[in-house]
């Protein structure tokens, strides 16, 4: 059977009628969203709007009570665990930069490479030229070539954010989920990060959650505003930021 025939949707990521509640608190409420292949989407919204919970659902950390989450049109993500979902090709950058602090920058990237992740594969692993070339390339992209032998824990906050993006690149997933990539960054770093994401977007589908409106504007992509676990508005940054409800609950007057 042709895979194309079985696809329920052309979208890379498709959420429909998703619902999650924690102890009676409705974190996600009838959330529906679709990301086309190759798209970059910015997600904005006030604290508690369900942005991170949505990422938890997509990556298998949280199981939804109801609803459909389809990856690549065929795979039901709600049935899989984190490891399996990562293997399928969904990478995630956390809100708080999470790198392996006691290991070197290049080892962090080595761990992220999408090669054999089995116990046997890593026990008998021997580096290859192709692997070290890929690491070199990522180091260059994230501007950490000079810091390759430093411990990740000794990097500045912004560098850690980039290292984590670099780990996503090494992982080379089909879909990147990027949670607040510019939190705590200087203006220059923020600008460079926007450039970096745009570069990555040439070959990857990206979903980025961010509060920094200047940054979102710089990305110049379709924006979805979440509020109380559901989509409040969707469109260009200008459309969304002029939406009455968005101004009321999020941007402020």
């Amino acid at each position: 059977m042709n895979v194309m025939d079985t696809r329920a949707t052309s979208a890379m990521l498709y959420l429909d009628g998703v619902h999650v509640s924690f102890d009676g608190f409705h974190a996600i409420n009838n959330l529906s969203l679709a990301l086309e292949p190759g798209e970059m989407r910015a997600i904005i919204g006030p604290n508690g709007a369900g942005k991170t919970t949505m990422m938890d659902i997509i990556t298998g950390k949280t199981k939804p009570d109801e609803g459909t989450v389809l990856f690549d049109g065929v795979t039901d993500l709600t049935r899989l665990d984190e490891t399996r979902i990562a293997e399928l090709g969904i990478g995630r950058k956390f809100q708080k930069p999470t790198v392996f602090e006691s290991q070197t920058v290049q080892d962090n990237l080595l761990l992220a490479l999408n090669v054999d992740h089995s116990v046997k594969g890593t026990l008998f692993w021997r580096g290859s030229k192709a692997e070290s070339e890929r690491i070199d390339k990522v180091l260059e992209t994230i501007r950490l070539t000079d810091a390759r032998n430093r411990l990740a824990g000794s990097l500045s906050h912004g560098q850690k954010q980039w290292l984590e993006i670099g780990m996503l690149l090494a992982q080379d997933p089909k879909l990147l989920l990027v949670d607040e990539p510019v939190a705590g960054m200087t203006d220059v770093e923020t600008h460079l990060t926007a450039e970096l994401l745009k570069e990555i977007n040439k070959t990857h589908t990206i979903m980025v959650v961010e509060h920094d409106m200047t940054f979102v504007r710089e990305l110049g992509v379709k924006v979805t505003c979440l509020h109380e676990g559901t989509v409040l508005a969707e469109g260009t940054i200008d459309q969304v930021s002029s939406n009455e409800r968005v101004i009321e609950v999020y941007l402020g007057r």
Partner: protein, 389 residues
């Protein structure tokens, strides 16, 4: 284990450690056997047996360091795997007694005759053969660790919860082995061993050989641990220790990794126990006591977790101190001293002896290299070191 993997795993500290253990393993037995008794350099037999015990403890400490220091699994029940390995060896030694027992039964050990057993329980089948007992030394602790780990890690039991259930595990085994009808000698355990592979266990030559074998086992365990932790798998273990959920999102099956090291570690602990029993001449349920497992964790903390050499060193230092203090007027206070030691190490030397030494060495090395880079930068043409491989 390929030669490539082995060479990668050896640094200077490891090489020194191996050289010292090998030298002890050769020189101490030779001095004991060849030099005249009472001469200054002659190691008396009681010391050979005592030090042999320390070496077994060092293997247990390595096993704990592998999972705790590198993967963050704090097992407070590793004494159970040690004791199970010990029991497997003890059962072989019991069956070697044959008709030399008090009751002279060719098949049944004395305690079974005493308890009116009519035939050998099935659990004792095969233990008259050394190869079978040796296999069980690995298999029984390994299998228990595998089943226990499979359930615990798959359900994502971590941190103190895991530590508590490992304590419960060893305590449950303690209670089971205490029972006479469990079939392993009840609270008396297994003792009165006569010979091992045809050699008298009390003989000086046998004791010296057991000491040398223990050193060999320590070297082998160390090399296995080094190979594991310096492979890419070792990096994954550290990643799991430092950021478990991050590792999952990178596509690592965390439970498989934990299960692998936990089982490997239990097998090593089993070997340590098997070498321990013929040297101390007895194995009884008190080896399962929860306190024993906690004590073993303290050795690792004192020596420095995540260093391997430190774990082995900690086991030897703390046990030497224990022997020293428990044989004098301070004997009743040993447990207080041990507790104080743990608190002091946690507060003042959180990295342990070896960890603190390493940090100090790295710091002074960094200072020196900072100085040399300044001068080297002037010469230009300095290239960044490429990936180690």
């Amino acid at each position: 284990m390929t030669p490539h993997m082995l060479t990668r795993s050896l640094d200077r500290g490891a090489a020194i450690f191996l050289a010292v253990v090998a030298a002890c393993g050769i020189l101490i037995p030779l001095s004991n056997l060849l030099l005249p008794a009472g001469s200054f350099l002659q190691v008396p037999t009681y010391l050979v047996a005592l030090w042999g015990k320390y070496v077994c403890y060092a293997i247990l400490a390595l096993a704990i360091d592998l999972i705790w220091g590198y993967c963050g699994i704090l097992s407070l029940g590793h004494g159970a795997f040690f004791a199970l390995g010990g029991y497997a060896m003890g059962m072989y030694l019991m069956r070697q007694i044959g008709t030399r027992g008090v009751y002279g039964n060719p098949i049944l050990p004395d305690f079974m005759v005493f308890l009116n057993y009519s035939k050998l329980p099935w659990t004792w089948y095969g233990f008259d053969m050394f190869w079978f007992a040796a296999l069980m030394v690995l298999l029984v602790p390994g299998l228990l660790a595998f089943c226990f780990g499979w359930l615990a890690f798959r359900s994502r039991v971590t941190g103190v919860y895991l530590s508590i259930i490992t304590q419960a595990m060893t305590y449950a085994l303690l209670l089971a082995f205490f029972r006479n009808d469990f079939g392993f000698g009840g609270n008396n355990g297994l003792t009165d061993f006569k010979d091992i592979l045809g050699f008298n266990v009390q003989a000086e030559g046998t004791r010296a050989a057991l000491f040398a074998l223990s050193c060999l086992a320590l070297i082998a365990s160390f090399l296995i641990c080094r190979t594991v932790v310096s492979s890419k798998l070792g990096k994954v273990l550290i990643a799991i220790r430092d950021a478990e959920s991050r590792s999952r999102f990178l596509g690592y099956r965390v439970e498989s990794y934990k299960l692998f090291v936990f089982t490997l570690s239990a097998c090593m602990a089993g070997v340590a126990g098997a070498l321990y029993v013929p040297q101390v001449g007895i194995i009884n349920p008190s080896e399962f006591a929860p306190g024993n497992s906690i004590e073993a964790v303290i050795w690792v903390a004192v020596g420095g977790r995540g260093t391997l050499v430190g774990a082995a060193l900690g086991a030897i230092v703390v046990n030497y101190a224990k022997t020293f203090f428990t044989s004098g007027v301070l004997a009743p206070y040993w447990l207080f001293m041990l507790g104080a030691l743990f608190i002091l190490v946690t507060l003042l030397l959180p990295k342990g002896i070896v960890g603190t030494f390493n940090a100090w060495r790295d710091q002074s090395k960094e200072k020196r290299s900072a100085l040399t880079t300044v001068s080297a930068a002037a010469e230009d043409g300095v290239t960044e070191p490429k990936m180690a491989e």
